[in-house]
Amino acid sequence: MDALVAQLQRQFRDYTVSLYQLGFLDDQFTELKKLQDDDSPEFVAEVLSLFFEDCVKLIGNMARALDQTGGSTVDFSLVGSSVHQLKGSSSSVGAKRVKGLCVTFKEYCEAQNYEGCVRCLQQVDIEYKTLKTKLQDMFNLEKQIIQAGGKVPQVSIN
């Protein structure tokens, strides 16, 4: 049992570290972990879940705003406002890559660069989904550790 716990903990540690090293997460995610305790053991998962819902909503808004079918012109400020919101929430949860994409996306909006915007939209869509999968794997590892009777280790990121 201990060997299993130790192995899972190792896996968890390595996986978490890799998420930071690969730029998926930044230290704001670490800040969120600080806010999690025995009273709110699911806090990080809950916030991230809300964030992903936000992604769906905002990306939907952006897609609609960028829709040129029927000859409608693109309202770049509308796109930009959704990008701004996504940038904000990704920043608040430590979703580093998503946030980075939003920065670029915002610039394209300001430049009224349609192709750039469409590209960013596609990328941000892929990016949040990728992060979602990765975090799901991470949360699953946590669950497995706990189920095996162990504690989820604190992972310090250097």
């Binding site: 704001q28 800040e31 969120l32 600080k34 806010l35 305790d37 025995d38 009273d39 709110s40 806090f43 809950e46 916030v47 809300l50 964030f51 936000d54 701004h84 919101q85 940038k87 904000g88 929430s89 920043s91 608040s92 949860v93 430590g94």
Partner: protein
Amino acid sequence: MARDGGVSCLLRSSEMMNVGIESPPLDLDEVHVLAVDDSLVDRIVIERLLRVTSCKVTAVDSGWRALEFLGLDNEKASAEFDRLKVDLIITDYCMPGMTGYELLKKIKESSNFREVPVVIMSSENVLTRIDRCLEEGAEDFLLKPVKLADVKRIRSHLSKDVKLSNGNKRKLPEDSDSVQTPLLPPPPPLTISTESSLDSSPPLSPVEMFSSPSPIDDEDDDVLLTSSPEEESPVRRQKMRSPGLD
């Protein structure tokens, strides 16, 4: 007089969970913060940051809601609302409709709440914006994403002059034995009369007041966030406060 026999330790919410405290009576030692942010994610985060630093939190999604909560949204001065205990207002700058700056101005213009410190949060580090807010009377300016250290810093400033409760024209409530009543019924409306002995009635949990839709509300349902029923709103005492207060 001390409500709990003078126990002045700073109880963590984990400890309070065992005691089963749902909605504590009005506690002068407890810092009540009004948080304003149009982003749901940010509201959740700031609410947690504040609760972890021993604050009671009411979170609203717009400047209008904030004014509504404070009773500043109509012309007539509401006598009831000057009893509202708000020790800090923390607001996002960039919000649709009313910006944090505009909210700040309205608060500083009000007689009941101008003494309440207002902290502005913004994702953009724009010096002119920061200056403008500080000139208008903002207590502090936090750059998003907000971290625990930021909130702790704000919190520590607050406890030094927590006697700003006087700015809210509040009198000391009568002593009460019914401190640790678990699972109190939903609290009464915002009004807290200081004439009656108040401690037995639950404190501000004004979320119930705002459950009806409002014309301004074009957001989703999660308009308000306050200490949710599943999470205890513990009675907290600040280490810094002198037990002799009560």
